[in-house]
Every structure is written in structure tokens, then in C-alpha cells.
Amino acid sequence: MLGTRPKAREGAFLWLIKILAGLSIVIVLGIHFVVNHLVAPEGLLNYADVIRYYQNPWVVTMEIFFLIAVVTHALIGIRSILLDLNPSDSFLSILNTILIVVGVGAVAYGIWLALEIASRGN
């Protein structure tokens, strides 16, 4: 039928994830700023503060969750902007793979970084 391009079902799925990711970002950012100001009033402005901040496992999980949410939200958003530029189906599938690769790469890099910082403490 006209209008349902090959990835028919994925419109709603991606949209829901974008909205959920968006909401979780708002929540986590809220926590982030509040906690941040309690832990280091002028922000994490030196190396020692950061290391201490990352000792709390809750912070590490929150930061990783935050990273995943932001990266997914951003990439889905970028994709819907590119979708509006009318890419051909074949180009769109290339786009999808690129975005997934970038996404996974960024998250992996972020998790490695967080764990690395956390391990620096002991």
C-alpha cells in the first residue's frame, strides 16, 4: 500500500523510544544537576572530585544509563531529521547501519570510560 515503506512498523517503535529516552534524560539531568551541586558546589572542576564522584556505584549506573538514553535519543532524532530529507530506501538502510554503529561505539566508549574512572579510585 502506498505510504508504508519497507520499515512499516518501526515508525511507532522508534517514536516511543525517543519519547521515553527524552523523558528519562530530563529526569536524569535533573538528578545530575542536583547531585552535582551537593557533591561539588562549583561543579566537578578538578580530577580528584570526579574520581570521588564516580566511587558511588549508583552514580556510575546513572551516568551509563544517562549516556545510553542521550545517545539513543540523539540518534533517533538525527535519523528523523534525515528521514525528512527524503532519502531513497537503499540510502536509508545505509544510514540506519551508520547510526547504529555510531551509537554502539559511543555507548561502548562511554561505559569503558566510566568504568575506567571508577576503577581509578582504589
Binding site: I25, V26, L45, Y47, A74, G77, I81, N86, A106, E116
Partner: protein
């Protein structure tokens, strides 16, 4: 097709605010702030990499980050975040059919909220620290 040769070149006309409703300004603002925030996200991830290189790399970077220009950039990022976030909430609400008939007022109130927030952050960043 529905529109005559929908070329990406027409995308610039997304950002033509003339004769547009608040809804489209929100749409434009969202897109611009989104692109800005994504750029910041990439920079943020790269800069945090300096943490892994040890204290001197990170602390020297922070020294750089204290210069007024970078601070102003960060303020822009914060206001972009506020605008994008609050408008995102507006779109989430309306997309579930909540507040659709008052979407215009929602836009204006959230925009003022975001600007007030940015002002507060600006004050703290430039006058307190």
C-alpha cells in the same frame, strides 16, 4: 508526487519563520537546539576522554573551560537543553492528545521558563564562580 521534487535543498525553508505559527517556531527551535546539543554531546564525550589521560590533562582542560568564551558556550548549551527539553515535554504531551487545544500557551510558557532558567544559570556561572 505530493510536492514538486522534494529536494534536501528545500530543507532550508524549514527554518523560514515568516508567517509561521508558534508550533513551527517550536519545530525550528527543536531542530536547531537538537543539532547544537548533539554537537555538544560529541565534544563532551571526547573531552571526558581526557579524564582517562590522567589529572594534568583534565585539569588543564578545565582551566581552558573557565575562560569566558567557553563559559558562554556552555550557557548556550544549557539554554538549548532547557528549550529542547521543555519543548520536548510539550510535544510528548500533545502527542498523547494532552493539551493539544492549549499547545500555543504551552509553547510560550515553556519558552519563558527556559529563558528564565538560562538567566539563572548565567547569573551563577558568570557572577558567582
Amino acid at each position: 508526487m505530493m510536492n514538486n521534487q522534494p529536494t534536501p535543498g528545500k530543507a532550508l525553508r524549514w527554518f523560514d519563520p515568516r508567517h509561521r505559527q508558534p508550533g513551527t517556531w517550536a519545530f525550528i527551535l527543536n531542530r536547531i537546539t537538537a543539532l547544537g546539543l548533539t554537537l555538544y554531546l560529541a565534544l563532551h564525550l571526547i573531552m571526558l576522554g581526557k579524564l582517562a589521560q590522567g589529572p594534568e590533562a583534565y585539569d588543564s582542560f578545565i582551566a581552558l573551560a573557565k575562560t569566558p568564551w567557553v563559559k558562554f558556550g556552555e550557557l548556550l548549551v544549557i539554554s538549548a537543553g532547557l528549550i529542547h527539553g521543555l519543548n520536548g515535554i510539550r510535544i510528548a504531551l500533545t502527542s498523547f492528545g494532552i493539551g493539544v487545544t492549549v499547545q500555543r500557551q504551552l509553547f510560550w510558557s515553556f519558552l519563558t521558563l527556559a529563558l528564565i532558567g538560562s538567566a539563572i544559570f548565567g547569573y551563577f556561572m558568570f557572577f558567582v564562580h
